[in-house]
Subunit: 187 residues, 2 copies
DNA sequence: ACAATAACTAAGCAGTTGCTTAGATTTAAC
DNA sequence: GTTAAATCTAAGCAACTGCTTAGTTATTGT
């Protein structure tokens, strides 16, 4: 016996996520979210509790968006080649027209401080660790090497992927492709 | 016929730089700078014009601090080994006790937006390009390969270095050392 | 039609942001 | 000792931050 919500929560979160991705967490104000999501502040707080809540939902949505290329990685039996494909897919995923926005997770890890945003930081670390595990899984497909060596390779690849998130804001596409080539050259 | 400044500008910039490094650009307020630098806001604006001015001076100071390990790189005739040494030196340079603060320049590149801080962004890009050039110079020492290939290697190394700045906030020291080893393994 | 309930709008909260201004204080040449 | 200039302190500016609250509007079962 009450009024219906005039907005779809998933739809407004997608808009919020895009704003956070472009803008970063701290420098995205609730007023900006209000405009972008197209709903009043009251509705934001009613649906998501607070700004942190909006961001946590945004990461979840980001995850579902990434799902398609993660699925490709999970289903791939190409070992390290599957990971290389993931790098290229991610680059395309993070493109917005001519510019690259980097990775929402990486951007935010670099921006926020653990002390002031422990909940968000924990969510971001979980996200990263999850991707590293996928790398380990894929690397194990190639041969039965020492687990230590495989984990070291996964760390090396994570480092390259994190770097790519920053590099994509500085270098042009051709250079980025070259970096990916060289990253996988000896694996 | 006037009063003397009660503070040394270089000394207070060092303190400002450390704060920016720990905290980031946007989330370091002028009130915080006031406390850390130990001088009044009026004095900050009198000496450095505005917050942006304080930061630009901070990068300059950061540069002089980096100078000693950059010098080692410039004077080195070890080619790619000199660059590897630079990676390790940098890690030590960016350490504060048990935690790694990453690179002031990389941190800020990732934080600010080109549209709202074009002056700062330009200074940061100049800084990065400068280091890339040093990599190119060192790589040329090893042999007379194709310039294109050397530049591609320099980009690859820059990507790894940028990644290391983020990785150092997530991984432990041992893992970081392993990443560096693997980055240079095939060069 | 009516009452109950949830969603809406918009104004307002205290605290913070970068920056400025008014006025007191210190220095140094004459 | 007087005067002029630079430096100091501290209060204050408008705009913004995340978040809340008071009051209006729409939707529902009865």
């Amino acid at each position: 016996m009450a009024r219906k919500k005039q907005y779809n929560e998933t739809e407004v979160i997608e808009k919020a996520m895009r704003l956070f991705w472009r803008n970063g967490y701290e420098s995205t104000s609730v007023r900006m979210l209000e405009k972008e999501m197209g709903i009043n502040q009251f509705s934001i707080y009613a649906s998501f509790k607070n700004k942190e809540g909006v961001f946590l939902e945004s990461i979840k949505f980001y995850n579902t968006q990434l799902k398609s290329i993660i699925d490709t990685l999970e289903k791939s039996n190409n070992g390290v080649l599957g990971i290389k494909e993931y790098f290229l897919d991610f680059l395309e995923f993070s493109r917005e027209g001519a510019i690259f926005k980097g990775c929402l997770v990486t951007n935010t890890v670099n921006e926020i401080k653990e002390d002031s945003n422990p909940v968000i930081m924990a969510a971001l670390k979980r996200f990263s660790l999850n991707i590293r595990e996928l790398f380990v899984r894929n690397l194990k497909q190639d041969d039965e090497r020492d687990v230590k060596e495989i984990e070291a390779q996964a760390d090396y690849l994570m480092n390259a992927l994190l770097g790519l998130s920053i590099s994509s804001k500085v270098f042009n596409e051709e250079t980025l492709k070259g970096i990916i080539e060289m990253t996988f050259l000896h694996l």
